[in-house]
Symmetry: C2
Subunit: 270 residues, 2 copies
Amino acid sequence: MGDIPRSHPRYNSLIGRKLLTEAAADGLLAASALIAHGRGEAFDYLLGEQTCASARRAISEAAKRLINAENPVISLNGNAVALAADDLIRCAAVVGCPVEINIYYRTPERMAALLKRLGERKEFVAQGKAPEGWSNQHEKRLGNWRTAVESVEILGAEPDGLIPGLEGPRANCCKNGILGADVVLVPLEDGDRCEALVALGKQLLVIDLNPMSRTAKTATVTIVDELMRCSPLLLKDILDGTSSQTEKWENDANLASCIAVMLDSLPQPN
Amino acid sequence: MGDIPRSHPRYNSLIGRKLLTEAAADGLLAASALIAHGRGEAFDYLLGEQTCASARRAISEAAKRLINAENPVISLNGNAVALAADDLIRCAAVVGCPVEINIYYRTPERMAALLKRLGERKEFVAQGKAPEGWSNQHEKRLGNWRTAVESVEILGAEPDGLIPGLEGPRANCCKNGILGADVVLVPLEDGDRCEALVALGKQLLVIDLNPMSRTAKTATVTIVDELMRCSPLLLKDILDGTSSQTEKWENDANLASCIAVMLDSLPQPN
């Protein structure tokens, strides 16, 4: 695919495709992961490949809920690791929560490849500089940037819990991760698992480009946006975040506004 | 993915995904082919995963144009071979035209894998029974079913022509195939190549689930439908076909009706 200049109007989309095909070649993804990415591309096309105002509000809401959670966790699958590992590790560092690799088509090879990759990205992020917005306040609570990142636990290698209502390996999870969490941020979640986790009384914060998907409709807060594009915004909001109480959130209404943006992008009949 | 029962409401979509991931494992596809398939899935979702009336009209129009062509050809890429090789070979047999493998990311390995697969499918189709609608009329013109299928030339192994206006390997094609054709049926074509072929004065009959794509908007006749679903319908129309002259075809109007179907499928704002 060669080098893609930053100035390209579809830079984000082309980079995403590059990262995904590379991750597939590296064994990080299930066979259907690229198809799922393509479905997302089509919905992003209808969004004009930009973060709409409703998505922006959902990002802020998700940030608030992560900050106010008792036991938050960020759940990652192969596509999420391929597209946004660095920013999601940064989010976990600032929230002070673990990340858990939790994949639908679980094989030992893919789990090992993802754990290795995520460990490498964590080290990279720890050695890099703190993101803009990182303050003395954060240092006081979490130590310096390097310490904060190195404190992010990477879970998933040894699942010791089962999500009730799911069968087979896809039910596996960690007690001190997803199973024990009150708030789960999970980009690109499967519908079955989203429903099962919500049924456990957890708050599910999801990132899904299809506002009509079962996941989008079941989640507590649905960010209808592209993962590479919204992750830095989520990080910014987490860094800026106050401990203010969460206002009433109407997820259905937010989804409806995202659908309205897509409707507007389709050529109207005469 | 296991066995998918015929009765499953999303049978076609799940089988398509299975065929594509298997074809990828067999080396028939470029890295981005699965992503392209996923984009199609999203648009098909908006179509309700069924052939809309406008697509049905476009299928009939394409059949008429193939029948009335001087030198028709059916151009196939990896996804088309994976999803609908058998029916498209049947179409070529009844039209009495060659098929040409013409892929965007051309490598010797993929060309060899596709030629081998298509040869196998041709043999399978030749040994099978003639499709419903195959008549004495067809026998008189083409010989018996087996002969008709075995007469379908598979081109693409040794391209001896270049499509003007395209650079690199993607310009390669055959003089007695795409380059010499007046009518080209090409499922899932790239926008650049569609434009270059239309600029040569050819009629392009395309199958594309995104009615807003450059290919959809540039082609002479655009079938906005899923390839596995529309191929048997195209075959039926070719078998039924008379030599009646083509009526005035308004492709833009047909695309607009397909977009209207998608608009109707999106939940309307209150």
